[in-house]
Amino acid sequence: MAELDPASALGHRELGLTDEDVLSMYGHMLLARAVDERMWLMQRAGKIPFIISGQGHEAAQVGTTWPMRRNQDWMAPYYRSIASAITFGMSAEDIITAHLAKGDDVSSGGRQMPGHYGAARNNIVSVSSPVGTQVLHAVGLAMGAWVRGDDMVAITSFGEGTSNQGEIHEGMNFAGVHKLPVIFVCENNGWAISVPLERQVGGLSVAARAEGYGFPGVTVDGGDPLACYAVARAAHQRAQRGDGPTLIEARVVRLTSHSSDDDQRRYRDPAEVEELKEHDPIPFFSNRLRAAGLLTDEADAALRAEIKTEINEAQAQAEARPDPDAATAHRWVYAEGAD
């Protein structure tokens, strides 16, 4: 009798992922978490005035952005998209530099507040603050590729509270009409600052809305990166085939308060907050990798140590970068000279 391979139980091979791929996905999740935690420390130390966290969303973000082709596909993210931005090619240093608002920060040159990711060189649209606007930009990018006949798929993400913005309806409807190559990802963490899902979404399902737009809506466990990858891969293939959009609703947890300006103990049951840790996607995935024989305690420790060094260096490099010069603040309202 052939010996059972514990790794096959993970199911990644059926998804076309190698052992290295899943370990790399895990590494991206760890890196995103480590950057996030470091920024909270920097916030407490008074180096950053504000932070808005992606903790709890890492599996959903890494899983849904993993099928996207770097420098070919595009992403219109939102303020929790640290892991997505990293998967799309931003580095820990880019992200810390942006949070420190340094003059050569790739996202905005110190013009935008923390959490406003973006990098033209990585096909990442610049994030703004009014929620939901980015969904139309992803639709417009997909429209551009469709008009030109290019092979490009756009992905965009937003919260379930944001899913109630009219612009999202306008964008999804149009994408449905023309079967545009776009993937909508709702990272549903159950809370929009202090207002819970029950008071945000009539019907309680964002995915169910897709039916009205004429494309599939799927709900997935956002704590499971492979489950997220599976639905996103299918969505990507569907978009590439010209069959149109998919709406993915990833059920995730918000492990932190809404932002560093918020205290969730004021509106969230302490027992619920305590219980949240059990839904942390990082130990969940780590345990599955161990059970599959793909990760040992030593390898995990080594990976974490490597990431810690990377972050220490990233922070040191970022802090050493020059602050923006007020003499440049008037620039780039319009194109200057030859564009």
């Binding site: 935008q112 969904v135 990018l141 149009f174």
Partner: protein
């Protein structure tokens, strides 16, 4: 030279630009098969196909937001708002997103977008088909705002707007779409954004105007010359942002008197900016206070012709304002 009306000039500009540059595309409500509710895009759908001349759903935020996405992708979208009155659902996209993307990304992204909007009253369109809402956009840094008053300028400015690397709000007064024909230079006639036009030279007072008001002001100047012997200089601003302060101040230096005329209401209107510019930089040239003649302080153009006529500016009202300014 061809004799065209403004609508034909606008259509020709889009046609020529689409022919010249495959990245130029049109999108909006009914712009495709129908050719637009005013006919501005007539014939272009048949010529360029239904992707480059794209009928969108009834979704203004989508029109602006998708134009932004497509522009980031490398296209040059020319979006049509069916009426300027219906741009408000897209306001968030225009003001929060389109106007500030270049600045907020520190020049990583730029948006070559034109948003064409039929505006203005005098067409029995009442409160919601007559608005002159240009100041929402002239007060938004990051946008350029253009409002032509002749067929040649309509063609030349639209071509310049389509080629511009930044977003341009292009205001087309509905009343003048088919009002008259005039010579339009053939071929690559481009009128640079940001230059006013001295439409009629004069020495006694300057009338600053744009869009349909250029036509009214020229008629008024004719009457003033005939009946009063007053030589009014008519300056068509053509571009509201960036404003050609040089031409504006040079005119005031010649005449010493400034009358600003616009159909939009007066309070906080574009005339306030023109008046402030003259007060700050042309004070010494002035022989009289800068005067504004503008639409009345009501929320919109009322429907019945008695009411609409009361609302609308016309050559006679401009003559009257010019006479009292000249007499100061």
């Amino acid at each position: 030279m061809a004799e065209l009306n403004i609508l034909e000039a606008i259509r020709l500009a889009m046609d020529e630009e689409m022919e010249r540059d495959p990245d130029v595309m049109l999108l909006g409500e009914d712009v495709g098969r129908k050719g637009g509710v005013f006919g501005a895009t007539e014939g272009l759908w048949a010529k360029y196909g239904d992707k480059r001349v794209l009928d969108t759903p009834l979704s203004e935020a989508l029109i602006a937001g998708a134009a932004m996405g497509a522009a980031m992708y490398g296209l040059r979208p020319v979006a049509e708002m069916q009426f300027a009155d219906f741009v408000y659902p897209a306001f968030n996209q225009i003001v929060s997103e389109i106007s500030r993307l270049r600045y907020r990304s520190n020049n990583s992204f730029g948006l070559p977008i034109v948003i064409r909007m039929p505006y203005g009253g005098g067409v029995h369109g009442a409160l919601y088909h007559s608005q002159s809402n240009e100041t929402y956009f002239t007060s938004t840094v990051g946008l350029k705002v253009v409002a032509p008053g002749t067929p040649a300028d309509a063609k030349g400015l639209l071509k310049a707007s389509i080629r511009d690397p930044d977003p341009v709000m292009f205001f087309e007064h509905k009343k003048v779409y088919r009002l008259f024909r005039a010579d339009v230079p053939d071929g690559d006639h481009v009128v640079p954004i940001g230059r006013a036009d001295v439409a009629r030279p004069g020495k006694h007072l300057s009338i600053f105007c744009y869009g349909y008001m250029r036509i009214c002001a020229l008629e008024a100047a004719e009457m003033l010359a005939r009946e009063d012997g007053l030589e009014a200089e008519v300056v068509d601003l053509r571009t509201l942002r960036p404003l050609d302060t040089e031409t504006l101040l040079a005119s005031v230096a010649r005449t010493g008197r400034a009358l600003v005329v616009h159909e939009a209401n007066r309070f906080g209107g574009f005339g306030a900016e023109v008046a402030a510019t003259i007060a700050e930089a042309g004070f010494e040239s002035l022989d009289a206070p800068v005067t504004r003649l503008a639409g009345p302080e009501v929320p919109g153009v009322p429907y019945h012709h008695n009411l609409e006529d009361w609302f609308m500016l016309n050559p006679a009202k401009i003559v009257e304002a010019a006479r009292s300014l000249a007499a100061y």
